[in-house]
Symmetry: C2
Subunit: 437 residues, 2 copies
């Protein structure tokens, strides 16, 4: 099957991430898309950097206009950013009949109406999942997943820098200025952080979400924008005492009088899931009339999370480009002739951590007997709590948390533990998962 | 534009929800899909009920086989459930060249391989977003949104009944049996709750997710399944003391030795977002190699949330069915000629609640002066806290939370408050949003 040929404009952080992920996962991506997707040309001012990353696997040029006019290129990825040359290049690519994938929220929020009109005229696709909330597929959720709903409102933590700063201010009781400096040192904030901290970046993103939620043109110039640079640590503390957290939210809401489109620090009840989104993470809540509230959470920035969205768009465009039955979205995500028969592991072979509760006699040597059995079965103990027996009781609960171990080892250990004279009745066993770091 | 004609098999809870949402949101759905989607035939044993719901807007028959053979029908929605007649009907519909939308997780987990092979042969689509996590578009996220990733694992709270029971057991310290009875009374658990509480329903769903995550056939018969009926309230309490919550998780993970596929009660760290998913809500975490962890949260059951997923599938099939450029997924969700020009509200006209912090002199009459101004501007107060002044200080912080009010009223009030002799300096104002009930 003929590969889909991609021209990449800009190989900075996200461009390099895109190149890396596309190479590393080439086989799975091809199994999903129905054909290989390969970068054939990269345009980058820093040619040496581009050559170092691409290692001769594709052409490297310093003239992006050559790539958008290259007859070999089917899809152009625009990762230059801003509204200057990026706009020219995107329009030129469209005029040349190329599909475009972009992460450029500023460009879409400010010139999206013109760009989409041109794309429509030329019959090409402009895909932009990476423009909002990085790797979280929120554009697809709103545009396709929730398409049955009359969407009522969207509220999102869609700028990681400011969420990191607010989390640190609350956590450590520090001032905005102190935390900003720390964020810059850690790379969470740019040297000139204005676009992030003053809410402009979030406003670009909520403008895009408002358009796809309500079927209205992009209207960034009408957005109300207020950042977090004036926020006082005192208010974060008082809000907390009242049961609220302060987050920088992008909000768009449909009202009888019109559409709200705004970015500002917002108190939200601490019990809401979105109030508990900490650090540089993003989360978006969408309220639909049928589905109610749904929430989408993940990394909103970074090389590979953003690349994840860029490449998902490449696959979408590839699947839709030909749109013959074999290239629609496959039922099981992978093309039907590309399923593999990986074995399903029997549960005995599964590795997890375990919580074990034993009812034991409260007498000397109990722990020695029990830990001996576990050691014999190569099970290592992470934590152990022995409860005080109740008044007049001579039995008590012993709780153990294990490190990662094979289920069959735990089964063997339990069989032996239940035979010990110090153990009363059955051992309770519940599996544990960390689910992240 | 010729409408897409739908035949609905079964008009119980979800079927009625689908009918209702499709009618209520007909205009927006048509603006998104590029053509109307209408139910032309309903098959239902309880013809009287079906007539009452459909009110003569479509044909009602008691023979579902007539609908899957009806030449007028383009898409069949199967909401009968189970693996008996539902399987026959789905295969018959496919053989007749109809696209199929189904919420039937048992059918797909057990007979999906056969059904998808037939669909592939006939060139029709079988869509099943509603089969997992109700209204949460998790199938689309895994199949399309995260398609760049090598998926490492998926862990989900994908059964609302058991999550409700576990939340209540933890919250109220009650036993499983007591809470199950309460759940049955409230309609969160069925009269025969076996499929839910023993984990079978969750196993159907995680089987489907494992197939689309790893590109493997459905292998429900190899899933390890353990429910919550044996769970002791004591272990929930001990887990809490150790910093964990117990949730019934469906887990599938790729390991070098094979694929894990399992459902069981699981301790997870209380600080994870998914550990804080309470009541009948669903949430799924997907770990991809590029994107890291993303989470999807919402209502996993109920008439309209499930209908939301069923109709999203109808729109997907409609958009893909013709697959000419005009019927691909539109850039802005709505067809380009269907955008509307709703006005964006100026921020002064936006209604929210407000947090106000005033620095005030600690003297009699302060509250009277301030509340008078707010009353004059028709701003009603939800809560008010006056801090004690620090030692030797004669000023203090006064914090007010308002009910919903127009921004311009608050601006007017603040202008007046700042002129009061009892108020020192500027008033701090932060907007508040409840974001749900």
């Amino acid at each position: 099957m003929k590969p889909m040929n991609v021209g990449l404009l800009g190989i900075g952080t996200v461009g390099a991430g895109t190149f890396t992920v596309l190479s590393r996962n080439a086989e799975e991506i091809s199994r999903r898309a129905g054909r290989p997707i390969r970068i054939v040309a990269v345009a980058e001012k820093d040619v040496a950097r581009a050559n170092e990353i691409t290692q001769g696997t594709c052409r490297v040029v310093d003239d992006a206009f050559a790539v958008v006019s290259d007859p070999e290129v089917d899809i152009v990825i625009e990762l230059i950013g801003g509204c200057g040359v990026a706009k020219e290049l995107v329009l030129k690519a469209i005029a040349n009949g190329k599909h475009v994938v972009t992460a450029n929220k500023a460009l879409l929020a400010m010139h999206g109406n013109e760009i989409f009109a041109e794309a429509q005229k030329q019959g090409v696709m402009v895909a932009f999942e990476a423009a909002v909330a990085g790797g979280v597929p929120i554009i697809k959720a709103v545009r396709e997943g929730l398409s049955a709903n009359r969407i009522e409102w969207i509220a999102g933590i869609i700028n990681g820098t400011t969420n990191f700063i607010l989390s640190e201010m609350r956590d450590k009781g520090l001032s905005f200025d102190t935390v900003l400096k720390e964020a810059q040192r850690l790379g969470y904030a740019e040297a000139d952080p204005t676009f992030d901290i003053e809410g402009v970046d979030a406003a670009h993103k909520i403008t895009i979400l408002s358009a796809i939620a309500f079927g209205i043109p992009m209207q960034f110039d009408k957005a109300y924008i207020e950042g977090i640079s004036q926020l006082n640590a005192k208010d974060i503390k008082y809000a907390e005492q009242l049961g609220y957290r302060i987050k920088l939210l992008g909000i768009t809401r449909r009202t009888p009088a019109g559409v709200e489109l705004r970015v500002h620090p917002t108190l939200i009840p601490a019990k809401r899931l979105i109030a508990n989104v900490e650090g540089a993470m993003n989360a978006v809540v969408v309220q639909g009339d049928a589905v109610g509230a749904t929430l989408y959470y993940g990394k909103g920035a970074g090389a590979e999370p953003t690349a994840s969205a860029v490449i998902a768009d490449l696959i979408d465009v590839t699947r839709m480009h030909t749109a013959d039955p074999e290239h629609r979205v496959p039922h099981l995500a992978f093309q039907p002739d590309q399923l593999v028969d990986l074995p399903i592991l029997p549960i005995a072979e599964v590795q997890t951590c375990f919580y074990l509760r034993l009812r034991v006699h409260d007498e000397p040597g109990v722990l020695a007997d029990i830990t001996r059995v576990l050691a014999d079965e190569q099970i290592s103990i992470d934590a152990l709590i022995q409860k005080e027996p109740g008044d007049g009781e001579d039995e008590t609960d012993l709780i153990l948390l294990t490190h990662l171990t094979l289920e069959k080892r735990v089964n063997a250990a339990i069989a032996r533990l239940e035979k010990l004279s110090v153990v009363v009745g059955k051992v309770t066993r519940i599996r544990m998962e960390e689910l992240g770091k």
